[in-house]
């Protein structure tokens, strides 16, 4: 989230699109009901189904799964056409006025530079026109036809209300009503917040869905303001923490990237990360990357990391492919290229697409190690459970080791919520049986592996042998020790660079923030963005003071929010160019003539004068990007792309299938179906009664939602002879599932391209282990393809067929 859960109370308008906040985030949703009750906020829900969030919405609109970009570009078009633009914001805080290279263009659904063979763009032309000194050319009058604003206007021209209605299946009148409500928040004293989740990410163009909303919020001047922002509601209680500390295969902690094999040494890696400002005087905070990187390397290898050996940079793995995402790992597994798989806190057999392929992959492993508090389906993939897991156990040779771990309520540490708050918690129960903390398990594996390297040597032993492991009990590092390591310490006494007599931090002390980090090896920090979370003043994450002096929901003494305890990112943009809040009644910070101050930690140097330093301090431009330059593989503007399996053709280019640059493995192309065989659009989702595949192990949750079902419209039920509560079979090329049918008015056929499109809703909480009835997950049916930028699987739009089925034989 750019903002925080508690900040939602400040809004005038909530749009939930690409998510189902009431259903999947019921506790956080309290802030929506709060905004409605005490601020009179309105709630818009756009979703293929009239869901639980819609049940309390002011306006609901249906949308065909996978058509969100068209909807959002249409709203942008509406705002531009009707002059509903926060002009002062757009002209000063976005890149609207920057000139783009003449050779950039878009035609027939594709940007320039497309290579069909490589399924990739040559992105050279997707760039600003630069002056000789490397700064950006701009036309503040927005008259130049090559300025971002005019290119955007041109780009969204196709998305007329009729086009949107025809493509999305959203009735035009309803759509225009929503456009009007959204556009009204372009006023200085009106704010909209966007709440989204996996309904936007789980598409082959997921990142572009979110870009679409980010652009709209910039145009309306709603980013950085209380009650505004682009707010990702994270799907697990600590998935924000996972991304923060870089557990994705191409990440390092604090949103730094792992090097590729073309960056074998530190100098080469840093050569493309200078982040020189593109506009003079801008912050471009990533200029500090060397400080964060060296501090990280010092945390990894301690005294073994020296200037002479590039701080151990060469011991970091280098990627030979963009990343080893889970789709790639399972594809390799299915081809027998993986021997050993460690599966920690993860149940891929139900949570990744095309279950048949996953089973095939797991069956080809030599050893599978699972670390989990629960008996997961993945750990039991080799067991035959009738139709629910129809495998021949005698043919599976994989050895499985289940290491029982503790669950969140049995351990101590911080979970990071969607609002970036690191909230420390304490164990509420003693682990059962032989269950051990994950840290104990990992430490003991590490110590044994290190011993083997010591005794037997091996290829590249240095990363293991040199790893800093200075814990009181090496077999079980304490949560406090790990947290302090992430925060960081001064390794030598740090002096003020402007006054060398002044000591900033004494050697050995915890760092107060990331601003004191150095790139000379005198500081260490495992995750720079967490600096300040555990200082010499104590564990900031354990703070529980819920006072809120500005009554603006920032709660600065409640736990710790990264970065720097800041609750709203880009909050300098909550003020006009001169530094006054756009809306005095929603004051967060302001320029008091000398510095920035207020109820949040300013997201700008506190003495940075207004009118000179722009709010988007992480970009080299200092502005928010309506045009994303070369930074996304599938285009600097979002353009409509159909899902890989779609009932209609891409109206821009009938030849295109899915996202033209998304990676898809050859065998998986063959498993795609067409609407001739599979006429219904399916989408997956969560229900409030359950949390993923965990709570079906709990009897109370099993009581509340006991059995796998699919949801269909009354029209589809009538067409196929399906009755409420009857059993149905849902299938496509990749698999089949049996479910109970919930026949509902909450799903209606959508008219797209002149024909009705039926939606089949498939909730995701059942499997063959646990207390609930045995069932299936949607992943028996979902395609093995992901987003073009990050490969999040396309779970939210795929094709199936459905028919009535005989009742299950009682056994």
């Amino acid at each position: 989230m750019t903002n925080a859960w508690t900040d939602i109370k400040n809004t005038d308008l909530v749009i939930v699109m690409g998510g189902n906040a009431a259903e999947a985030h019921p506790c956080g949703f309290k802030w929506v009901t709060e905004a409605k009750h005490h601020r009179g906020a309105r709630l818009i829900v756009v979703d293929p189904r009239f869901n639980r969030t819609a049940s309390v919405a002011d306006v609901y609109a249906p949308i065909r799964p996978g058509s969100d970009i068209a909807f959002l570009m249409g709203v942008i078009r509406y705002c531009i056409e009707n002059d509903k633009v926060q002009w002062e914001y757009v002209k000063n805080y976005t890149n609207a006025s920057y000139l783009v290279r003449d050779d950039f263009g878009w035609a027939d659904g594709l940007f320039n530079g497309y290579d069909e063979e490589k399924r990739d763009y040559d992105r050279t032309a997707w760039e600003y026109q630069l002056n000789e000194d490397g700064t950006v050319k701009a036309d503040p009058t927005l008259a130049d036809p090559r300025c971002v604003w005019n290119l955007l206007k041109e780009h969204v021209a196709a998305y007329t209300p009729d086009f949107v209605e025809n493509l999305c299946g959203t009735p035009k009148e309803r759509y225009l009503k929503i456009c009007e409500m959204i556009a009204a928040t372009s006023a200085r004293d009106k704010v909209m917040t966007s709440l989204y989740a996996l309904g936007w990410t789980q598409h082959s163009k997921g990142a572009q869905n979110i870009r679409g909303m980010a652009m709209l919020q910039l145009i309306l001047g709603n980013v950085g303001l209380p009650g505004g922002g682009v707010n990702a509601l994270r799907g697990h209680s600590n998935i924000q923490g996972l991304t923060d500390i870089g557990l994705l295969s191409n990440s390092l902690p604090g949103y730094m990237n792992l090097a590729t094999e073309k960056e074998p040494d530190y100098a080469t890696y840093m050569s493309t990360r200078g982040n020189k400002p593109l506009v003079p005087g801008q912050t471009s905070y990533w200029q500090n990357t060397p400080k964060f990187m060296v501090s990280f390397l010092k945390a990894m290898w301690g005294s073994a990391a020296t200037k002479e050996n590039d701080w151990g940079f060469e011991w970091l793995p280098k990627l030979d492919v963009p990343y080893y995402d889970i789709l790639r790992m399972f594809d390799m597994m299915s081809r027998g290229e993986v021997n050993l798989y460690f599966c920690q806190g993860f149940n891929p057999l139900l949570s990744f697409p095309n279950r048949a392929k996953l089973t095939e992959g797991l069956s080809k492993l030599k050893l599978l190690v699972t670390i989990d508090p629960l008996k997961t389906e993945t750990a039991h993939f080799w067991e035959n459970h009738g139709i629910y897991n129809d495998v021949d156990s005698s043919k599976i040779m994989t050895e499985v080791l289940q290491l029982p771990a503790t669950c969140f309520a049995e351990d101590e540490g911080a979970t990071v919520n969607s609002g970036r708050w690191l909230q420390w918690h304490w164990p509420g129960a003693t682990p059962p049986g032989e269950a051990k903390h994950d840290t104990w398990i990992m430490a003991n594996i590490f110590l044994r592996v290190r011993e083997l390297y010591r005794k037997e040597g091996g290829v590249c032993p240095e990363p293991i042998l040199n790893l800093a492991w200075d814990y009181k009990d090496p077999t079980e590092p304490e949560p406090a020790e790990l947290a302090q390591e992430m925060n960081g310490r001064a390794l030598q006494t740090l002096y003020d660079p402007t006054d060398p007599t002044k000591v900033l931090v004494e050697a050995g002390k915890l760092l107060p923030n990331f601003a004191v980090m150095r790139d000379d090896g005198s500081t260490m920090s495992g995750c720079w963005i967490y600096a300040g979370s555990w200082t010499e003043d104590g564990n900031m994450m354990a703070r529980r003071d819920n006072s809120d002096p500005g009554d603006i929901g920032t709660f600065l003494n409640w736990t710790f929010a990264w970065p720097a305890n800041r609750r709203i990112l880009y909050n300098r943009a909550s003020c006009d160019l001169s530094g006054k809040p756009w809306d005095e009644s929603r004051k967060l910070i302001e320029w008091n003539g000398e510095k920035w101050a207020g109820f949040d930690v300013p997201d700008i140097a506190v003495t940075a004068k207004p009118e000179t330093v722009m709010p988007f301090i992480m970009t080299p431009e200092g502005t928010g990007r309506l045009f994303a330059r070369r930074l996304m593989r599938d285009g600097p503007f979002p353009t409509h792309m159909e899902p890989f399996e779609s009932p209609v053709e891409n109206p821009f280019n009938a030849k295109l299938r899915g996202n033209p640059v998304a990676r898809i493995f050859p065998e998986d192309v063959e498993q795609l179906g067409t609407s001739a065989d599979y006429p219904c659009v399916a989408t997956s989702y969560r229900l409030t009664e359950h949390f993923h595949y965990w709570t079906k192990h709990n009897r109370v949750n099993a009581v509340l939602q006991p059995e796998f079902f699919v949801e269909i419209s009354e029209e589809l039920a009538a067409e196929r002879g399906i009755v409420k509560g009857g059993r149905v079979r849902v299938w496509n090329k990749r698999g089949e599932v049996w479910a109970k049918a919930v026949v509902t008015k909450r799903i209606r056929p959508l008219i797209c391209g002149g024909k009705p499109v039926h939606v089949v809703g498939i909730p995701l909480h059942w499997g063959f282990m646990g207390a609930a009835r045995k069932g299936f997950g949607p992943n028996s049916l979902t395609p093995f393809v992901g987003d073009a930028n990050i490969d999040t699987p396309e779970f939210k739009a795929f094709l199936v067929n459905i028919e009535p089925a005989a009742e299950e034989a009682s056994s």
Binding site: A22, E23, P26, C27, F29, K30, V32, T33, E34, K36, H37, G40, R42, F50, R52, T53, A54, S55, V56, D58, Y60, T688, E689, R699, V700, N701, A702, V703, L704, Q705, P706, E707, F708, F709, V723, K724, G725, G726, K740, A741, V742, V743, T744, K745, R746, A771, A772, R773
Partner: protein
């Protein structure tokens, strides 16, 4: 006087850290079933109420979950029968239930998904208590809570007949009637009801009846600003008002919400049999049953004969059907 637990006035009220004696005493009982004369209460507790704002309810079932956990009940893992209600009805192990109704509003042509938390309404004039032949099996405290005292219950099911909301359910194994207690055991020690505390969206509030009515007025105003001209409070006077109330978008049509009675009344049969006239009422229900019940009551208060059982089952089933029709 020794320090007793405070009366809770919010859903989130937390009890003091040190254990304090209950603040809901036998002497706070103002009415008891089949008991003509009670000693005059020494004090009047603050009247409490639970307000369920259906316009804030997202149907998440956290209330059901909290109810199961707090009361330590064990509902069955049932099947899906094509709806979101699970369990499919109130049971002796499920005192509260989200009921879901898909309503196409003919005035707006909009679909509405009306979600109502069903459960005991804690009537000011409780039909269950009036119908109950077992002395002290149903009591009403001066704060408005209507509670079933299982130790005195004979499982006859008359309370089901007496209830205009079709709430109590008789356990076929324990032979006692069960329903929501408004968490009398929590309220007694300074805590709000478990469901209200668990509710993530503050759709369930708890406090003094007066403050709940005020809150409802605020909510009704907000709903009217959103076009719900008939929004209002459901506090039906046919049963003397209730200590569980609803904010409804369509207060003119309560029955839209999964058959919430438009104008609940205690059945005339039950109304007729109170105090000394009780045997007459029982005669209406069946003389044989009355004899057996009286025998059961005085001989072995907690046990029932097979005959009682049979009669009770007939009554319960009959009441169930009537409830559905209502």
């Amino acid at each position: 006087m020794s320090e007793r637990a405070p009366e809770p006035v919010t859903a989130a009220a937390n009890p003091p850290i040190q254990p304090l004696p209950s603040n809901l005493l036998a002497s706070d009982v103002i009415r008891a079933s089949a008991t003509a004369e009670l000693p005059a209460p020494e004090r009047q507790l603050t009247q409490v109420a639970k307000l369920i704002d259906v316009s804030k309810c997202i149907g998440c079932k956290a209330c059901q979950s909290a109810c199961i956990e707090w009361n330590d009940t064990h509902p069955d893992v049932e099947e899906n029968v094509g709806v979101y209600e699970n369990p499919h009805d109130l049971t002796p192990d499920m005192f509260t239930l989200m009921r879901f109704t898909e309503y196409e509003n003919p005035k707006t042509n909009e679909l509405e998904w009306l979600i109502r938390k069903d459960g005991c309404m804690h009537c000011a004039d409780p039909g269950c208590l009036k119908a109950c032949p077992a002395p002290g099996a149903i009591v009403q405290y001066s704060n408005g809570i209507v509670d079933f005292i299982s130790d005195n219950c004979i499982g006859c099911g008359y309370c089901v007949t007496g209830c205009p909301f079709n709430i109590p359910r008789v356990s076929k194994t324990a032979h006692v009637s069960k329903k929501c207690t408004l968490c009398s055991d929590r309220v007694a020690v300074g805590q709000g009801p478990a469901c209200a505390k668990a509710c993530p969206t503050k759709a369930i509030s708890f406090g003094t009846k007066e403050s709940m009515i005020e809150l409802a007025e605020e909510r009704v105003e907000d709903l009217k600003s959103r076009g719900y001209d008939n929004a209002g409070l459901y506090d039906p006077q046919g049963v003397g008002g209730t200590h569980v109330m609803y904010v409804l978008h369509h207060a003119d049509q309560p029955s839209l919400y999964a058959g919430l009675p438009d104008d609940p009344q205690i059945s005339p049969v039950v109304r007729g049999w109170k105090g000394p006239a009780k045997t007459v009422g029982l005669a209406v229900a069946g003389l044989a049953a009355a004899g057996a019940l009286l025998h059961g009551l005085f001989a072995r208060a907690n046990e029932v004969t097979p005959h009682d059982d049979e009669e009770a089952e007939n009554l319960v089933d009959g009441a169930g059907h009537r409830g559905r029709e209502a």
